[in-house]
């Protein structure tokens, strides 16, 4: 089932066109990586989904219901974690979650149970202090707890890991992975290792449009292999091959990389066979999300 569907979304700020006909579809129980450079329009898209920004044209549906700007009823399906979540600093985490639950009309008993459960999940269960002194990582974790509070169908996270240290990042990714059982997650990022670690699907946003979308495996297969690594036993053989073929490059002493067509690669292999050059290893270079990202955004 399609949790989120965006069709032909357009948004300009003054003369700057940020989104120009964005189409996106997020299916249920996926962790969807929304990838784009800084300023590509990720936050704008998310704010439009939340009805916080008015789109110039296009349609957004959450759980099949149309999203309206201003009075956004579809937000009852959504949990939102902004890039830098800010809370009422004079409250304790538990008070804040209770406040959020009352705002969204949760049942009192359920709210008490759910807040304690979520604070345990994000590691703030024993935190009695007010939010005022919280580190960024702690705020991010509380942000996830508040976003998951009313069991949303869709959890939208805007660059949840960008400003965190490696430990904080790992914690957030682990929490998101754990949350996958309960909800669908759309998270924007430009950290590709995070996408590779937890996402099931991803889309690349560039120049206000989605340039590629699919499962991580599909995205990788959209692009043929980047080439091959040939590791030889002797350095002299490596030199011979370099002299014979211009498109081979030295990676290490006796390791060469090859970039070129498959046909051309067979010619190299034929040469290796004919000259009886001993080979230690031949490995295909898999395309990484990073190489895809660079290609897409160029």
């Amino acid at each position: 089932m399609e949790i989120l569907a965006i069709r032909n979304l357009k948004k300009s700020f003054g003369s700057k066109e940020v989104l120009c006909g964005l189409d996106l579809s997020v299916s249920e129980h996926s962790i969807f990586g929304f990838i784009g450079k800084n300023g590509a329009g990720k936050t704008t898209t998310m704010k439009a989904v939340l009805g916080l920004l008015k789109a110039d044209s296009g349609q957004i549906c959450v759980m099949g219901e149309k999203v309206n700007f201003g009075q956004t009823r579809t937000n009852r399906y959504i949990g939102y974690l902004p890039d830098v979540p800010e809370f009422y600093s004079y409250m304790t985490p538990l008070e804040y979650l209770h406040f959020c639950g009352e705002i969204s009309g949760m049942d009192k008993a359920d709210l008490v149970m759910r807040s304690n459960e979520l604070l345990e999940l994000v590691g703030l269960g024993r935190e009695q202090h007010r939010i005022k002194g919280f580190s960024r990582g702690m705020k991010q974790r509380l942000g996830i707890a508040q976003a998951l509070l009313n069991r949303p169908k869709l959890l939208i996270c805007d660059e949840p890991t960008s400003a965190l240290d490696p430990v904080g990042r790992k914690e957030i990714l682990d929490i998101l992975l754990a949350a996958k059982e309960q909800t669908t997650i759309l998270f924007s990022t430009h950290i590709l290792s995070d996408v590779e670690r937890i996402c099931t699907e991803a889309a690349f946003l560039n120049d206000g449009k989605i340039t590629m979308q699919g499962t991580i495996a599909e995205l990788r297969s959209m692009r043929p292999s980047d080439g091959f690594i040939i590791e030889l036993e002797r350095k002299e053989d490596a030199d011979t091959l370099i002299k014979a073929f211009g498109n081979l490059k030295v990676e290490k002493q006796n390791t060469l990389t090859f970039h070129g067509s498959r046909e051309h690669f067979f010619v190299v292999m034929q040469y290796v066979a004919e000259n009886r050059i001993p080979v230690r290893k031949i490995e295909r270079i898999e395309p990484t999300l990073e190489s895809l990202f660079l290609e897409v955004t160029q």
Binding site: K47, L50, L52, L53, K54, G70, Q71, T72, R73, N75, R76, I78, G79, Y80, P82, V84, P85, E86, F87, Y88, Y90, M91, F99, C100, E102, I103, S104, G105, Q146, N150
Partner: protein, 256 residues
């Protein structure tokens, strides 16, 4: 209604925990005590300066002090309290836009009009509380030292000034819904009040301008009657409702 009450509760908690409530109470109590105190101290101050006044050719004779002196002082001081009130709460909305705390609340499903309503209720109740406190203290001291009966239409004069405060606060709410930063909110609110004041210089317009409500001394001294204020009370009442009614669609259309 539950979300509205939850948000209101949060507003009151914020006022208490950020120390604004205690500051307001101290401010209004201080002003409340200051009015009769200044009146009481006036003869002593005049005596202290009598030598230097005599040198410049002024002779101080017996200074007459009564409840009116204290009430005149009250209506001179209350504008300062109102300005302080506006300055303290000028960022009530804008702080939430800037920090993004409102984003989370709105994405939790709170209707935007409830934000306007809860904040307006908080501000109006705090003003009423502070003003009432200040008035009661001055009234009690005046009753103890002198006789409040000397001031004509005292309660109407007090209600008029309270209403003027409500009018200014509703302006503050409107501009808070409209603008992004508190400097703009303060300047625009101050600008409209200044405009109303300037317009009240024109005799024909004067009777309609909310700024006339500030002229409580004319009512106390009997220079103006209660009927002279009716038109401005109606104009002020209607514009208060209008400001709040306009704030809601403005808030609904706000891009956050």
């Amino acid at each position: 209604m539950k979300p509205l009450f939850a948000y209101m509760k949060k507003e009151y908690l914020e006022t208490v925990r950020t120390g604004r409530l205690i500051f307001l109470v101290l401010l209004f109590v201080l002003f409340g005590i200051m009015n009769p105190a200044i009146a009481k101290l006036t003869p002593w101050i005049m005596e202290m300066f009598s030598d230097s006044l005599a040198a410049s050719g002024l002779s101080v004779t017996n200074v007459q002090i009564d409840a009116m002196t204290s009430w005149t002082q009250f209506f001179k001081n209350i504008p300062i309290a109102l300005v302080a009130f506006v300055l303290i709460f000028s960022d009530s909305f804008t702080k939430e836009y800037k920090s993004g705390t409102l984003l989370l609340v709105l994405t939790k499903g709170l209707s935007r009009y409830k934000v306007v309503l809860a904040k307006a209720v908080l501000l109006l109740s705090l003003w009423t509380l502070g003003y009432g406190l200040c008035f009661s203290i001055t009234y009690s001291y005046n009753a103890y030292f002198w006789d409040n009966g000397i001031a004509n239409n005292l309660f109407l004069a007090a209600v008029m000034w309270w209403l003027f405060g409500i009018w200014v606060i509703c302006l503050l709410v409107l501009f808070s819904a409209l603008l992004q930063n508190n400097t703009g909110v303060t300047l625009c609110t101050g600008g409209i009040v200044a405009l109303a004041y300037l317009l009240s210089v024109i005799p024909k317009v004067k009777i309609y301008s909310p700024a006339l409500l500030m002229d409580a001394n004319s009512l106390l001294s009997g220079a103006m009657g209660t009927d002279d204020y009716m038109k401005t009370i109606i104009v002020t009442g209607v514009s208060i409702v209008m400001f709040l009614a306009v704030s809601i669609p403005v808030m609904n259309k706000k891009q956050l």
